[in-house]
Point group: C2
Chain length 181, copies 2
DNA sequence: TTAACCATGTAATCTGTTACATGATTCA
DNA sequence: TGAATCATGTAACAGATTACATGGTTAA
């Protein structure tokens, strides 16, 4: 059981999903490729933490829809009470910015504007996401209770939005610092 | 040449350092252990990107002090102009918060307060760091030019501070959301 | 007709963590 | 006396990425 396994269980704890859907939806809090997810799902199934049914589809390929078992829920609950590892952030851009004096102003401005664009798109995506959560929750988001099924998603997306906004702010500040050079 | 290698080169581009010092100083932008760094330094040296001298110390163990070579600088400069990978963030806490409804309010509040404490300490550390940069730079930080040797560090620490503040903000907001449950 | 999306899987490789190994100095 | 810091290295293992493999549908 590694962290990604718990991530998969946490999604399945909300509702049954296929491996493909899990792969798409876990990106926001634990980036992973399908080649990592499919073998883990098989292991979780062998261990009795999840089970699946094959759902035939006419327009698309058939899919395996996984559900969490009671054993899986217990595992997840136990894990929550164990010590939490520190967050890990790795960003190539910060290395490049750190030694930006090796290149010229244009290069530096390009790097920053590309990243600003990335964060802008991310914000658009996150705002769409929060609107979808709002519709699903059926209540004003600010008054959501911990037991509302949408609560977890809201907390997650809210954090992603705050972080992305602070990153955008930094991009603008950094570009300004460059222009004043 | 992987990203960590460029991270090491970017530090050596500022000034010569030992493997041990590199290990400590790279944590802020690319977390890595000494067991990853020492073999990479050996490879970089074989490739002619860095060189080292052994500096004997009386009170502490002798150390290898590495410097970047011209070839290393060229490598680094070329790398900056190549496409930049998206940033990667992984945080166990977000998985736990996502399925927090499995546990009780106390558990949830504990998780958040522990993380808040972590971010508070990080902020203290970063503020100390920025003061040291300020002393070193010998000029008001807000007017630092791109070619000042402290510019890169300032950009880096500034981003870390903005991010940590936004994370702290989220922690407080999330705790409030819980209390209103 | 070409690319994108849906859908699942395995193999090879690279990256990162934990553990093993050694040994001096300093501080509580 | 025991823990922490300085200092460098290797080995084993776990985690993550890229590439290989297959094949249908849909929209530009």
């Amino acid at each position: 059981m590694n962290t990604l396994s718990y991530g998969l269980l946490s999604l399945l704890n909300k509702s049954p999903r296929s491996g493909y859907e899990l792969m798409q939806q876990i990106q926001l809090f634990w980036p992973a490729r399908h080649s990592q997810i499919y073998p883990l799902l098989a292991k979780l199934q062998e261990a009795g933490s999840v089970e699946f049914i094959i759902v035939p589809q006419s327009d698309k390929p058939d899919k395996k829809v996984y559900s969490i078992t009671q054993a899986g829920k217990n595992l997840l609950r136990e894990w929550i009470s164990q010590p939490t590892a520190d967050p890990i952030n790795r960003d190539e851009l910060m290395i490049k910015i750190f030694c930006i004096s090796l290149t010229n102003l244009n290069q530096a401005e390009l790097l920053l504007s590309q990243r600003e664009c990335y964060y802008r798109n991310k914000l658009l995506f996150l705002n769409e996401k929060i609107e979808r959560i709002s519709l699903l929750a059926g209540a004003p988001l600010e008054s959501l209770s911990m037991h509302n099924p949408s609560f977890g998603s809201y907390m997650l997306v809210k954090k992603a939005i705050l972080n992305t906004e602070s990153n955008l702010e930094w991009c603008k500040w950094a570009a300004m610092m460059l222009r004043n050079s």
